[in-house]
Symmetry: D2
Subunit: 351 residues, 4 copies
């Protein structure tokens, strides 16, 4: 009988919204054991239970409540760090962790588009982890840095991946994004009750760029971006969790809504990742009721790791249109980073 893998994990930026979800998801992870939680100066030295304004419906795990918050410095007795740091801090800190030998799975946007940093959803482009070879060669790090995409990107990329065989040319995205995506304190209630904010700083740029890398080909040790063109408009709406994206796609090969749904339902993760703890059997769940997916009802599909697609129709101006939903703080952030850490271990042959 095989020995169960066991790794010591630290969460960087553990008091924020994504950090809280990481604590929650790591409460019963089969491989990972949390040994350190880090936070800003305001939190360092205090028990996590005091330093953190916990906002999840599920209670804070007892082990976390009593852990003393550490500074975000590469002196943690861990092998893996999951980074939920703000991007500007991540830019400075994450390379120091990678240089110091840690496996860094980051949710921050700082290095997503760097040429030698894998931007990965394991069930989409596991092979891109191969960029690590290049990273090691150029950066002289003993550790590794890999990143997951922006939360909203995840809603688009899984269905687009399933459509790539039909030639994705142009994509139009309009998002309706949940409040948790803005972190805490994030959006003031006076701005969002009986209201919509038609703007999320920096978000449209990410949505227009990241899918090209994620859907690109890994050739000769580098990523060749996919040729598709994307236009994105992003909105903040008063939901707690779950980003909904209205998507229209122009394909080279015109396929019917039925074939589209078949392709999405049939989409399977690469073999290497199928048995990872965070993998789901069905990455894309397709619903046929006229009014699904809905954030509150569908965000927990696949324990928050499946993207739910519905309303697949012909599009009068492109080929197809549909609606996709992602749990922004699980598949789109905390769960994404964990999945990446697991996938990197697999790629390294450690599990």
């Amino acid at each position: 009988m095989s020995v169960k893998p066991s790794f010591r994990v630290a969460i960087l930026g553990a008091t924020g919204m994504v950090g809280q979800w990481l604590v929650h998801l790591l409460d019963h992870h089969p491989w990972f054991r949390v040994v350190a939680l880090t936070g800003s100066d305001r939190s360092v030295g205090r028990p996590y239970g005091e330093a953190c304004r916990w906002l999840l419906g599920a209670p804070m795990p007892e082990w976390a409540a009593q852990m003393i918050v550490r500074p975000t410095e590469p002196e943690l007795d861990a092998e893996i760090v999951i980074s939920a740091l703000p991007s500007e801090i991540a830019r400075e800190v994450e390379p120091r962790f990678a240089a110091a030998g840690y496996l860094v799975a980051s949710n921050a946007s700082a290095y997503r588009m760097a040429e030698d940093v894998p931007l990965v959803m394991p069930d989409v482009n596991f092979d891109h982890i191969g960029l690590i070879a290049r990273q090691r060669a150029t950066r002289n790090w003993s550790g590794t840095l890999l990143t997951n995409p922006n939360c909203t990107t995840t809603a688009a990329v899984l269905p687009l991946k399933a459509l790539m065989p039909y030639g994705v040319r142009r994509v139009h995205l309009v998002s309706l994004q949940a409040l948790s995506g803005a972190g805490y304190p994030g959006v003031p209630s006076l701005e969002i009750v009986d209201n919509i904010l038609p703007y999320i700083p920096g978000e449209e740029e990410k949505l227009e760029r990241e899918p090209r890398k994620l859907l690109g080909r890994f050739v000769d040790g580098a990523v060749e971006e996919a040729g598709l063109v994307i236009s994105a408009q992003t909105n903040r709406v008063p939901t707690l969790d779950g980003h909904l994206v209205c998507i229209s796609v122009e394909l080279e090969e015109a396929i019917s809504p039925e074939e589209t749904m078949r392709a999405m339902r049939g989409y399977r993760p690469p073999e290497e990742v199928a048995d990872l703890p965070s993998a789901v059997a069905q990455p894309i769940v397709v619903r046929t009721e006229p009014d699904r997916p809905q954030p509150r009802l569908d965000r927990m599909a696949g324990d928050g790791m499946s993207v739910v697609v519905g309303r697949v129709q012909r599009c009068p101006v492109f080929t197809l249109k549909f609606v996709a939903l992602t749990h922004n703080t699980i598949r789109g952030a905390a769960g994404a980073a964990l999945f990446n850490a697991e996938a990197a271990l697999r790629w390294m042959g450690k599990v």
Copy 2:
């Protein structure tokens, strides 16, 4: 000094959401005096103040509260009827009013696409009222029926009208629509708190068809639909009033965001309607802040009759993208029908 015009007006379907807005807007109308409010069997014979579950923040006018609700039959001592009837009832009732000599300005969808019924926004296509000549010839009515478009359509059509000189080819629309658009009782709260409904029955079809008629040319006594193609995705969100629409447009002539804003700001209603009570000097208000328009802050622009446009940008897949907001129950319904009644009187030379 000229005599002030004065007309007796009845509101059909006065107890519903749109009917309430009509009562509110007609409280101080310079030309129109409400002489009758009609309702369903449940309401007939009761004072409006009792029969109607009033939902507006502004109080119900005293004259309305005491008016006894009448049946929706063409036996009202009025010259003009404004119809806020549900479409299935409108289909049967409105022709009987038009046949009986009333000027019927309808918000219902039943006859919007009929070849001899004007579908009008006076500051967009005042000349389409000319269809009345054809209507009289074919229907043998002594009265008249004209209609206003679906609420969401109004958000799209005004900005598109301003862009018509540049050749509008393809349009992609995603809407975030307010609760009042579904009437009362409408959307159950359990379906929309912490949620989005990505579907509004019949709405996408209307959005894809109505603008073609509204933006068409009136030639030889008929409307020639505009050749543009539209794709629409509609969503219900938890706002009270104000439909927000994310719009991408492909133009024949590529213009810059700056020129676009200039064209929209400079758009003026036809001379014939500029002095009507419901006309606004600036039908399209353009905002340049990154996060506007917002439903709660901008829906009352031009007393609810201006469409507010913002976030005008180049679109990577089409030519331009922007966000437009309409007050769905004023510009999109009650105010639209009043504006049409005024415009029809102007066309008839009565004012």
Copy 3:
């Protein structure tokens, strides 16, 4: 080793809000197996998955989705029926089920105050189930009917029970009740977004009466109501689940907030119910943070079966004040009825 108990259960009124929670809670119940779901004429004969507009975040269990909805008639192959019927229907139907030999655990208000019907929260007044003897004697039923209180009552009664040793004289209650308490479609969204409804029909009367019976003494085969006097004001607020109640209590013996918290924390269910599947070790969870309990964060305490108390303070006009939270559709409805069914089986010696 003992044989695991096993009972066939039917849910009456399974398509409504409380019915859905029953389906959810019975998905993995150790003793109960659902064999029938009943509904109104509109639903009968259709698969539950089609007939029911499912509103829970957790997905509908597959076995339920495929079950054909039955009429609510006492011809079901079950021993136990859990009733989530509306009160006016329950009034007529439940006695027929009890007469036909079923054990009926009802959430409806129809018979709660009847002299020979137990109104029970097993961890408060298990002994009241003894009223069944009287019920059998007077009604000539081969089965049994017992009821659980109004959802909001449950928030008040558990803490009051813990305070009974100090002599509860007068109680002032103000509730902030969630939308799910009104069922589906229930409260229209137009009435509750950016709003409060300061009235819930019939609710205040229930809150002022039911606790007197629940906290009464079972003497000589009858319930002697407790002498306390209650004043209640009830409000509907825009939360999904979780009724919050602000409570002030006048005690005969003035105790401190600290002693109050000790008494509540130390409160334990009667021995007979402590090992029932729906029992919780700590029926009253006391929190000391200044801003708890909060509905979204605390409603799932004890899997929704614990009442959470916080803000325990001296009251300037009475003795003590505090805030209590109950999960209205679990502890206050579906879970309450299940707990009662389990307790009745225990009382009957069947488990």
Copy 4:
């Protein structure tokens, strides 16, 4: 014909929520002309239109948008200052303004309970302004400071004032308070969507103390506090404006709900204030529908200056219970301070 009064007014802390309401209410004030807007260092020197994140549905007046924000120093060319400062800043700044000769009408809590500072609602205790004589004697100020109560206090005090002739002994208050009461950014949306916060720092203390001063008697140049005892529990709910308060009152003389409503409806402001611009003919509006007042529908009664009372019933534990609503940012803050400035001018004989 008399000359219209005209005064130069400055708003201290003009960029916050209450400051914005002051700008809005002063847009067309018959006596007051705004000559200066002050703000914090972050805002000073910038046009108000840029420095202020405007959150009201009504648009920012053009004159305000272009005014350059000034530091909060007593060097403003104004006779009257209306203070919307945070309490800790008010404590230091307001005395300096009063010393420098300004008439200071403050919404801050800093000096409300000071023995020589009037705490005033002009239609409740106009005569308390007489404390100014004492203030001048003791403080050696050439100007004057008077304050209005906490927003929630206003909902309670007007109805209690109407009941004082019947001997108010004990009062129990539970509030459901709107988001605007917490200012901006105030309550994070993640804390209040699908949630209630059962705690507002410092609020209960204010509610338990301020009414005693407001309802006290002005005797021999001093205020003798009223003898009533109050218990308050306060909650934050997801409404934008309008604090709802559930009130139970113990009276010396038991009166019926009908007499209560008569007393409240008949309550009239003292003669001296009846013609002030901010006075309303009917300070207490009583509604008899079972489900009123509601924040969204009733907060604008009397242009936001009337308190709306409903659900007047006998109370089983006290004498009476009812629900009262105040527009927290108008009657409870901005409008209250303006009303006080007007009343102080009247007391001084300047108008």
